[in-house]
Structures are given as structure tokens and as C-alpha cells.
């Protein structure tokens, strides 16, 4: 880790017609939930942080590293950002075994096949998927895929962890257990974490919540703050539904 290790910046990113403006400051070991309805621009923010989408304006830094600066045109390529992502539908590599999915980042960084696979097996054990190493990822259940995706992202030893609706594709029965597991992994992660979700229950993993509606942050605070004083009709509706 370099500098203060904070993921910080003020920027605008655009996907299609929707421009999202956000002000971020997440300290290492802290988790921010980006909360909001579908189409609010949550995934756009993640894509911009991961380097999959250029900034329209503003800048973003991770510790003392500039990830992107729209005014100077400086952009760090996604592969150089050390940003781990768990995608909404996991995007596991169908042509590789579970073990080689998790070993992928280490292999790309130049480690030997053997060392990468041994490390992958350790990560799989840690997420409770040790028995799946030789399996084919696309043949796994949603919950199993989610574990593999988390292991793959963490195995890359990223400086930031981005979780894009990691629980939304799961059945209700397994969701509670996996939420608890995910919370453990997030707690164990040393860097800043951003969790995108549209579920208040999932947002409970986070230390702080930012509500994003139509590209604008409409409320910021702890989950308790939101429950106590919903700032918008959308938040109020959800709080009431959950109560």
C-alpha cells in the first residue's frame, strides 16, 4: 500500500445518457455501500474506478497513485490499477477450471503455474470452496460461483475491492449465509471496499451508505442514519418496506 491508501476523488462518469457525479473518500479497511435503484449509475461508478470507463471530468486517486485525471488526460489502464472486482454475474472464465480462474491473476503477473495453483487452492479453502477446485465454473450454482468470484478477486491481492451486486443473483435461502461470509471477507480485507447494492439488508455490510439516484448522491450516512431520517421518498419507501 502506498500513501494513505484511501480511494478518493471527485469525478463525473457517463454511460449512455446518464452522467454520474460523485465525491468519494473511502479509507483502508472501510466499506462504502453505493445504494440505489436500478439505472441510478451505481455500476457506472464502479466501471470508472476499475478503469473500464473513462472519466468525463474530475480525478481519482488511490493512496498517492493517480488512477485517472480528466484534466491532464492521465489514465492508468485497468490492469495496472490493482482494483479487484466481483462482477454482478461473476464473469468467471468458462474455459478454465475453478482453480485456474483463481490462479489467473498470479499467472498473468508471471508466477509459475504451480505456485499460482497452490495459492489459488488456499484462497478457495478460505472462501469455503476448496472442493470445487477441479470443477468447471459455469456448471456451479450461483452461490458457488459467487465464492469463486470472491476468491478470484482477492487472490489478485488488490488495493481496492469493488463488489457489484454480489448477492443479487442468489436465491433467498443461501443469501443470508453468503452475506455473512461476504461480510467476513470484507472485514478481512485491508484496503477500501465499495459495495454496490439495491438491498438495504446487503448494505448492512458497509460502514457507510451513499444513496445514488439518477446520477446524483441524495443521501450519505450510516444505515441507521438512513433508517432514522430518510432524505428521499425512495429511501423512505425502502425503509418502510424493510421494517
Amino acid at each position: 500500500m502506498n500513501g494513505d491508501g484511501c480511494l478518493a476523488g471527485t469525478f463525473t462518469a457517463r454511460r449512455g445518457d446518464l452522467a454520474v457525479a460523485i465525491d468519494l473518500d473511502v479509507a483502508p479497511g472501510r466499506t462504502l455501500a453505493l445504494f440505489g435503484p436500478n439505472g441510478a449509475g451505481k455500476s457506472t461508478v464502479l466501471a470508472a474506478i476499475a478503469g473500464l470507463l473513462p472519466l468525463e471530468a474530475g480525478r481519482l486517486r488511490l493512496g498517492d497513485r493517480v488512477l485517472a485525471d480528466a484534466s491532464s488526460g492521465r489514465v492508468l489502464a485497468p490492469e495496472a490499477r490493482r482494483v479487484g472486482v466481483v462482477f454482478q454475474d461473476y464473469l468467471l472464465f468458462g474455459h478454465l477450471t475453478v482453480r485456474d480462474n483463481v490462479a489467473f491473476a498470479s499467472r498473468m503477473a508471471g508466477a509459475s503455474r504451480r505456485a499460482s495453483r497452490e495459492a489459488a487452492d488456499r484462497w478457495l479453502e478460505r472462501v469455503g470452496a476448496g472442493g470445487l477446485a477441479a470443477r468447471h465454473p459455469l456448471a456451479l450454482s450461483g452461490g458457488q460461483q459467487q465464492r469463486v468470484a470472491v476468491a478470484r478477486a482477492l487472490a489478485a491481492e488488490p488495493d481496492v475491492l469493488l463488489l457489484d451486486e454480489p448477492l443479487s443473483a442468489l436465491d433467498v435461502e443461501v443469501r443470508v449465509d453468503l452475506r455473512r461470509e461476504l461480510a467476513d471477507h470484507v472485514r478481512g480485507f485491508a484496503g477500501p471496499t465499495i459495495l454496490v447494492t439495491h438491498s438495504l439488508a446487503d448494505a448492512a455490510i458497509a460502514d457507510e451508505v451513499a444513496v445514488l439516484e439518477q446520477g446524483v448522491v441524495t443521501q450519505r450516512g450510516t444505515l441507521d442514519d438512513l433508517r432514522r431520517a430518510p432524505a428521499t421518498p425512495y429511501v423512505e419507501r425502502l425503509v418502510h418496506a424493510a421494517a
Binding site: 490492469e79 482494483v83 464473469l91 472464465f93 468458462g94 489467473f104 499467472r107 498473468m108 478470484r152 478477486a153
Partner: protein
Amino acid sequence: MPAALVVVAILALAVLMLPLVALVVRAPWADLPALVTSAPVLEALRLSLVTATIATVVCLALGVPLAVLLAHSADAPAPLRRLLRAAVTVPLLLPPVVGGIALLLLLGRRGLIGGWLAETWGVTIPFTTGAVVIAQVFVSMPFLVFAVEGALSGADRRVEQAAATLGASRWQVFRHVTLPLVAPGVAAGAVLCFTRALGEFGATITFAGSLPGVTRTLPVASYLALQSDPDEAIAIALLLLAVAVAVLLLLRDRWVPGVRA
């Protein structure tokens, strides 16, 4: 399905199959072993297999990157995109003889590039085995490009982004994610490419000529044999048909779309 449609469909099937049935029926079966193992036929077979294999390798090396470019051209301005697509499509629609003439005008001794090659380096391309490969590449590359491009546009390209976030450089993404992702398309394209190269006639005879062991591939030999020994021509045609069927059977369950059992 309306009965009339079934009738027409059967007619279409007859159009496709009956000529091949005639070929098989009229084949000189008794003399066939002797005909297809005669020295000239074996020489042509060997030349055909070697040139078609080289042509397929060249098509893979050049065609896969072109397919990737084509697949990425969705972000390019529309006129450029259409131009790119047309450049790949035209050789597909062109009569191969026209392709042969065009190759002569480019690479012949008095061609745009061929003239320079001949004067500066003393290199002439027509009448060489290399010319056969070039003709085959010209006619068969579009098959490969479109097969691979089809596979690329059908695949979920977001896994490439996932790979990038895991630290894979652009080249690593291409090598370790994109290529495996489209491997079935590449394989199917290579098979199409090989069989098309094997059957290539018009551009070959126009551009490369016809000399035993050097440029006389099986289709060229078959056409020449028709002048003197139709039985031999039929035997060679049968040989080509057998190779095509063998290739399809070999890859049946694996890669070739539509031939899966």
C-alpha cells in the same frame, strides 16, 4: 410446416445432393484404386494437402487479428466499418477467376507489386507453389474471418474486462481469454478455410498456372483430366469429395456448427 414448403425443401435438397449422387454412381469403381493411386494423382493430392495446410495457417495468422478488428469496429465510424466489412466480403462473392486476374495484376511480373519485385529482387510469383498458396489464402480467408468474428460477437466480451481487472495486459487478455473464448469459432473457420483452399480452382489456374508437382493441385488436375480421361477426372472429384466429408466427420462433434449429431 406447410406441405408446399416441404416439397420445395426436398427439391432444394435434390439440387444439392443429386449432382454428388451422380458423381458417386458414375464413378469408375473398378478402376478407382488404380486411378487415385496413380503417380500424377498422388502428386496432385500431396501438393493440394500441403498448400491447403499452409494456406490455413496463413489465414489463421492473418485472419484472426482481422476478425478481432472487425468485431471491435462497432465503435468505429459507420463508413469505415462498412468499408472494412466490404473488403472482407467481396472476395467471397467474387468469381475466383476474377480473383486470379486481380492477383496477376498485383503480383504478376508486370503487376503493381510484382513488377517491382521482379525488377528489384528478380523474384517472380506466378507459376510457383507460393502463388497457389496466395490464391488459396485470397479465396478462403473470408470464411475464417467471418467464422471468428461471428464467435466474437456471440461471446460475452465482458470477461475480457474481468481479465483486465485481474492484471492481464491487452495481449494477455487476447491470448488467455479472447482466443480460448472463440476457439470453437476459430476451429470451425479453419476447417472451412482448409476445405475451401483444397477445392480452390479458378484463382489458382489463373494466377499460378498448372505444372505437375508445382502448381497442379487436385482440382486443376481434375479439370485437365476431363480433356483426356474423364474417368480420372471423376476419380479425382471423388477424392476431393471424400476429403471434404472426412474433414467434416473428423470434427463433427467438436467444432463445426450444424454438423453436430
